[in-house]
């Protein structure tokens, strides 16, 4: 009896896993199908062969190469600045000694609650007037500004338990503030920095609202915006190419996740648990 019961439990959990993974598996097989397979076979059928032409199509004719490059540039540059700002501001408001530090920390933490949609119209006006609309710069600075609040909050959490003695020892040894930051604080905060990087990487890479609002030039579009209009460009019938492009946009996430799945889980959930 007990065996039957645990067997049933096992089956239920197995089914849940299938439910979460099967759509993705289907997507991969679908991206390798030829056009005629869609009308000849039911949708759940496996691909007959490996028709990589779909990927070539998506990469060249569908402009995925351009979109990837744009997404990569915007994400990497903004991540770099987010990490720099988050560590320096986080350090300044938790460990350094000055009058306004609590107020400044509070001001930054306000941003966690502000919905992106509320800022969208004024931002559009700002960029429109300064001529920054349709440039990578406007996307990058927006990403940085909206990534700060949560990142600083996470860094603060780590720094609160950061031992003062180490800093004291460094100062006695003659370290200035910049040297201490670079040689002592940053290496010891590696975990916090990785958390921020992982979390913000997923946020920025997946951004749609900003890029579709500020960028209309198709040579500057990011992967997400590109995907959204993909079926318009390719026609709704070319399922193979659509699936290939969707799969392609998923691969970077897949790789990062496979490589660092424990770190990714920690990083992603840290935002919720501590936010």
């Amino acid at each position: 009896m007990k065996k039957v019961k645990s067997g049933i439990k096992g089956v239920i959990i197995f089914l849940i896993c299938v439910l979460e993974v099967y759509p993705l598996f289907w997507m991969l097989t679908a991206s390798l199908k030829q056009q005629h397979e869609w009308s000849d076979n039911p949708a759940y059928a496996l691909n007959e062969g490996f028709y990589f032409e779909n990927y070539v199509d998506a990469w060249t004719r569908g402009n995925m190469s351009t979109y990837f490059l744009n997404s990569l540039i915007c994400t990497v540059v903004s991540l770099l600045f987010i990490v720099i700002f988050a560590t320096t501001v986080g350090f300044a408001v938790t460990k350094m000694k000055w009058k306004m530090k609590d107020t400044v920390a509070k001001i930054f933490s306000l941003g966690i609650m502000i919905p992106v949609a509320t800022c969208l119209i004024p931002l559009f006006q700002i960029y429109n007037r300064t001529g920054l609309l349709n440039t990578r710069i406007c996307l990058i600075i927006t990403y940085i500004a909206f990534g700060l609040s949560l990142s600083i909050y996470l860094v603060q959490g780590y720094l609160r338990s950061f031992p003062d003695d180490i800093m004291e020892a460094a100062v006695i040894d003659g370290c200035g503030i910049y040297k201490m930051m670079w040689h002592i604080v940053v290496p010891l905060m590696k975990n916090a920095i990785v958390t921020v990087l992982v979390l913000q990487f997923f946020f920025k890479w997946n951004d749609l609202l900003f890029s579709m609002t500020f960028i209309s030039d198709s040579s500057l579009k990011t992967v997400q915006t590109g995907l959204l209009y993909f079926s318009d460009e390719f026609g709704n019938k070319n399922w193979g190419a659509i699936f290939a492009s969707v799969s392609m946009s998923v691969f970077p996430m897949l790789l990062v996740y496979m490589g660092l799945n424990k770190k990714v889980m920690e990083g992603m959930t840290a935002g919720a648990v501590k936010g």
Binding site: P115, L208, V264
Partner: protein, 294 residues
């Protein structure tokens, strides 16, 4: 020590650039939206001060009320679905699984990392009925449930629910990992003691686990709530707000009003409403936390 940590120049260098960027791009726009909301038209084009007229107009605006209702339904269904199923999964991992815990968690967390647009495109094809059956319809037809085959996202009655299912699918693994972490923090002796006292599975959950998990449940509710109030990307990617306006959220309505119809003043009012709902909703959920403490 104090001299080094009180270095004014270093503090300025550390804080000021980020603060300026943040103030201009995040804080100023919120105030600016508030100011815009008192005008009608768009800047430079029939731009007139109308005071609170925009706010009055909201209540008579059928489209606004419609998207508000859609948004509320979506928030309720998805928040409950994500957090509830997340909790259920976490309980299964903790009490049912003895092996393969890491693999199961890795698999279940997987959809969380996918780009929303990609998920939207994928599900659009899963729900598809024309020109070929999508995955769902072909499976239904294969097991003989042909009468259930329908245009899941092409008709008003099911589109919103199809969207909700998609968003629950994406995020339940996320919440299950959070809850699982919280469950591991509960000492085994407490559970053991309750079992010895004769608590059944449900009693154990109701009287021991639920109170202990309460802060985590509230955190997750706030997190899920603030994510779902903003409802934009997923419905844009899956249905584009259609059919009709069956899945059009407040954010999408704001976007349409201000960028498609160029009525920036009125769009700002909707933006402010989203902001208020977000703040008030989170405060309301957090209230449940405070009561217990005192």
């Amino acid at each position: 020590m104090n001299k080094v940590l009180g270095n004014k120049k270093a503090i300025a260098l550390f804080v000021v650039p980020a603060l300026i960027l943040y103030a201009i791009l995040v804080l100023v726009p919120v105030v600016w939206s508030l100011y815009y909301s008192l005008y009608s038209g768009s800047p430079g084009l029939q731009w007139e001060f109308t005071g609170l007229d925009n706010y009055v107009k909201l209540f008579h605006d059928k489209n606004f009320v419609n998207s508000l209702i859609v948004n509320v339904k979506y928030v309720l269904a998805v928040t409950v679905g994500q957090v509830g199923l997340g909790l259920l999964l976490a309980l299964m991992f903790k009490f049912w699984l003895s092996r393969c815990k890491t693999i199961v968690r890795t698999l279940v967390f997987f959809p969380v990392v996918l780009p929303t647009v990609a998920v939207g495109q994928l599900f659009a094809k899963i729900y598809e009925i024309q020109p070929n059956y999508g995955l769902l319809n072909s499976l239904l037809s294969a097991v003989g449930l042909d009468n259930l085959v329908q245009a899941w996202i092409g008709q008003e009655s099911t589109a919103l629910w199809a969207l909700c299912v998609m968003d629950v699918w994406v995020a339940m693994g996320f919440y299950s990992v959070i809850f699982y972490g919280a469950l591991l923090d509960i000492p085994d002796d407490i559970l053991e003691a309750a079992r010895i006292d004769g608590a059944g599975s449900f009693g154990l959950f109701r009287h021991i686990l639920l109170p202990l998990l309460r802060p985590m449940i509230i955190t997750c509710l706030v997190f899920s709530f603030s994510g779902t109030v903003k409802m934009f990307e997923s419905s844009l990617a899956l249905t584009g707000g259609g059919p009709g306006s069956a899945t059009k959220s407040l954010s999408m309505y704001m976007y349409d009003v201000s960028f498609t119809y160029n009525n920036v003043g009125y769009g700002s009012v909707v933006a402010i409403v989203i902001f208020l709902i977000c703040i008030l909703g989170s405060m309301l959920i957090n209230r449940f936390d405070v009561k217990e403490k005192y």
